[in-house]
Amino acid sequence: MTTTPAAGEVTYLEAISQALDEEMARDERVFLMGEDIGAYGGAFRITEGLLEKYGEWRVLDTPLAESGFVGAAIGAAMMGMRPVVEMQFADFISCAFDQITEVAAKNHYRWGAAVPLVIRAPFGGGIHGGPFHSECPEGWFFHSPGLKLVAPSTPYDAKGLLKAAIRDPNPVLYFEHKFLYRRAKGTLPEEDYVVPIGKADVKLVGRDISVITYGAMVHLALEAAQVLANDGIALEVIDLRTLIPLDTDTIFESVGKTSKAIILHEDNKTGGVGAEIAALLAEQCFDQLDGPIMRIAAPDTPVPFSTPLEEFFLPKTGDIVAAARKLKEY
């Protein structure tokens, strides 16, 4: 991935800004809350200019109190508003864990009141953020029924999924990958579009091995596919895009074809999203499998800070290449 967009291209970060702007223009119930999102434009400058455009009651700088402002967003959502909350870093979502898992997630199931809330959570490593600014917290929420979880990997999906999330009547956690902000680029349609929640995308069609992944790791899988093409191994790369609800149809169909699966994510290995997918494959696709289900993930440690440590921690293209070669042998 190079860093300057070509003519007509936008970055992943710009795609998110566009989605916010367009949804605010389209629906006056949409409003934003978060730390430093107003005059400052947010820690990553995603909301830059929106305060001037929409005023201080639609772009609210909050006190430093995640549980408090997520709870407030839940209340406003129940009253028919469409709050979009920004976590400065996904890591701080833990401070609002209780409101998200106990209130937002269970609300509709318990007494039928919808919570049309979006929480944008900039997640992931590769930026030397250390243990508190690089986390992948999706696993914590993957286990809490009532939440939808999305994690786009391209500008197109970032915009389309955010729009879908804002229009969805449920609490949606939108995991945007910090590493992709200025690195992932693409052209976007002129017209309004959404990427439906719950639909995976086959990023690369291949006959040999299915790589099931999401977020920044999608790009790693595509890189590995290029390397492996020289060995005559054709990877099929599935970008999940949505973690809950999980598009099992696409996953099963692909594995049914290739008979081999590698699950790849940046989150820690144990109890991560990949563990669930591996279990589903073992349960549903046992007859079709021609080799062990492989998982590539970060080791079970916090995200380290120092460069050599972080490089060791994060999955690498080489890990996928090695796993694919091994799997090919079966």
């Binding site: 730390e35 430093d36 107003g38 005059a39 400052y40 820690a43 700088d61 909050t62 006190p63 430093l64 109190a65 995640e66 549980s67 408090g68 400065q88 870093f89 890591d91 701080f92 833990s94 401070c95 930026i127 030397h128 953020g129 250390g130 243990p131 508190f132 600014h133 080791p299 079970d300 440690t301 916090p302 380290p304 800070f305 120092s306 460069t307 050599p308 440590l309 490089e311 060791f312 921690f313």
Partner: protein, 332 residues
């Protein structure tokens, strides 16, 4: 500010020592800023420029076996507790010789042996922890005190309030503080809370509170000494609000355009180092020659630290896997 300060209570040697630590903090952080601008610092970089008197003042008021749970602009406290400039720089450069061996960066460090609770990014997370440290002292009948704080922004979190309440209910030997530097990242105090003084938050928990000039190291030292003495005597927790101004951006990448320039100009005149020099001169404890001498000594230490950090090795990748769990050797 609202409490008269009798500086003659402080010994000359102590004041000069504090001046040295002000200079060491400034020298070290200026060096870190310079390294950051050269692109040699790994990750973010938060400094206490203009706020050095707070950490230097309170850490000087503590005994060796007291414990601190510092805030992210408390470099002076780390230094006074014995973390060397070399170790700090190693931490910033991601080297193995830093207190976290490269696992974490910048001020995110701690050292249980030196009585420093490791900083957690999630602001105010450490305040309930600090009350627990104090609880241990209380249960064991030890006359040790905990000093723990956060910024004005951090005091909005539930964990701050839960810690204040628990400390007050159980009369724990903990001094909680807030460095009110008027902004939380870009958020001005008026969007953080509907009261002008953070100290009012202490009243709700039945805790005595005091507003202190955070740019005056002597005032900080004396207020901390009083609060610590109270807590040590079993009279319970106290809250200190240090009024100050953050003279740099939230981190060194932030030009802080949201702060009016006039406000900075005004606070520049109250620079803690100038203030300390003025006080020392007034008391007849020092003059320009002595100040220069001390500054040079501090800067030399910083340069030695840079050399140490630069020569230190980076950790090796597989070290990532070490230390997730404690073993019996870590038991204390």
């Amino acid at each position: 500010m609202d409490v008269a300060v009798d500086v003659t209570e402080i010994k000359r040697a102590d004041l000069l020592q504090m001046y040295y630590y002000l200079r060491l903090t400034r020298g070290l952080e200026d060096r870190i800023t310079a390294l950051y601008r050269q692109g040699r610092i790994v990750g973010g970089c938060y400094t206490s420029h203009g706020m050095e008197a707070i950490a230097v003042g309170y850490a000087s008021a503590l005994e060796r076996d007291d414990v601190i749970a510092p805030f992210h602009r408390d470099m002076g406290a780390f230094l006074i507790r014995g973390i060397t400039p070399g170790e700090v720089l190693a931490q910033y450069l991601g080297k193995r010789t830093g207190p976290t061996k490269g696992k974490d960066g910048n001020v995110h460090m701690g050292d249980i042996k030196r009585g420093i609770i490791g900083f957690v990014s999630h602001l105010a997370d450490n305040l309930p922890v600090a009350t627990g440290v104090a609880l241990a002292f209380k249960i064991r009948g030890e006359h040790r005190v905990v000093f723990a704080g956060t910024g004005d922004g951090g005091t909005s979190r539930g964990d701050f309030h839960e810690a204040m309440n628990f400390a007050a209910v159980r009369m724990l030997p903990v001094v909680l503080f807030c460095t009110n530097n008027q902004y939380a990242y870009s958020t001005p105090l008026r969007l953080q809370m509907a009261i002008p003084d953070v100290v009012d938050r202490a009243k709700a928990y039945g805790m005595p509170g005091e507003i202190v000039d955070g740019n005056d190291v002597a005032a900080v030292y004396l207020a901390a000494t009083r609060a610590v003495a109270r807590a040590r005597a079993g009279l319970g927790p106290a809250f200190l609000e240090f009024k100050t101004m953050r003279m740099h951006g939230h981190s060194e990448h932030d030009p802080a355009k949201y702060v009016p320039r006039e406000l900075l100009e005004e606070w520049k005149k109250r620079d803690p180092i100038l203030k300390a020099e003025h006080l020392l001169t007034q008391l007849g404890y020092g003059d320009i020659t002595l100040f220069q001498e001390i500054t040079e000594r501090a800067n030399k230490e910083v340069e030695a630290g840079v050399e140490f950090a630069e020569q230190s090795p980076l950790p090796e990748g597989p070290e990532v896997l070490e230390g997730v769990f404690a073993d019996s050797a870590d038991d204390h």
